[in-house]
């Protein structure tokens, strides 16, 4: 159990570095926001579960669950707002407005 926890902690750290590396190498703010929020969320989830496996204790368990719950509830919202800010700042409003809609009739 402790070995699995240690493995998850290291994996979470590596995924965090991967997220930061994506923020460095990806071409624009929209793509960077994807790397940061998706990989970052998974990295923190792995770290929290790894810590839970390291210390099987109630006081630790509910705090870690609270952290994980807050992150899972808030990071998608933050991701959405970041994407909207990136689109507005890059002046892509017009392209977004003129893009074909899912419910639009064909042709």
């Amino acid at each position: 159990m402790s070995l699995l926890g240690a493995l998850l902690l290291v994996l979470g750290g590596l995924l965090l570095v991967l997220a930061a590396w994506g923020v460095i190498v990806l071409p624009d703010a929209l793509a960077r926001q994807h790397a940061a929020t998706k990989a970052g969320t998974l990295a923190l989830a792995l770290v929290c579960i790894g810590a839970l496996l390291q210390v099987p204790d109630t006081a630790w368990a509910w705090r870690l669950a609270l952290i994980l719950g807050f992150l899972l509830a808030t990071l998608p919202v933050a991701s959405h707002l970041l994407a909207r800010a990136a689109v507005r700042e890059a002046g892509m409003d017009v392209a977004v407005r003129e893009a074909p809609r899912v419910d639009a009739p064909p042709g």
């Binding site: 402790s2 070995l3 926890g5 240690a6 493995l7 902690l9 290291v10 979470g12 750290g13 590596l14 965090l16 570095v17 997220a19 930061a20 590396w21 923020v23 460095i24 703010a29 960077r32 926001q33 940061a36 929020t37 970052g40 990295a43 923190l44 770290v47 929290c48 790894g50 810590a51 390291q54 210390v55 006081a59 630790w60 705090r63 870690l64 609270l66 952290i67 807050f70 992150l71 808030t74 990071l75 919202v77 933050a78 707002l81 970041l82 909207r84 800010a85 990136a86 507005r88 700042e89 890059a90 002046g91």
Partner: protein, 91 residues
């Protein structure tokens, strides 16, 4: 074994913060900088968990809870500021 994993977590989180610092300095848009701040938030939460694993105290987990909430509000605030200034021409 466990302390080795905690050390690895601290080193990787600091490396992630270093890479995010580069993105904050380089920009080029404000949205990029907020994304890098998000990485900082994730690294800070990971470091707080690592601190509580290293010391065996739960107080650092409370710090991580606070960080997660404050970081969310900060990200939303900055995103709204960037959005509202987007139409005002070059920065």
């Amino acid at each position: 074994m466990s302390s080795l994993a905690v050390t690895a977590l601290v080193v990787t989180a600091l490396l992630a913060a270093l890479l995010a610092t580069w993105r904050i300095l380089a920009g080029p848009t404000h949205a990029d900088r907020i994304v890098a701040l998000d990485i900082f938030l994730a690294a800070a939460v990971a470091l707080a968990v690592a601190a509580s694993l290293a010391t065996g105290r739960t107080v650092f987990l409370d710090v991580a809870i606070g960080l997660a909430l404050v970081g969310f509000v900060a990200t939303i605030g900055w995103a709204r500021v960037v959005e509202s200034r987007a139409g005002e021409g070059p920065q």
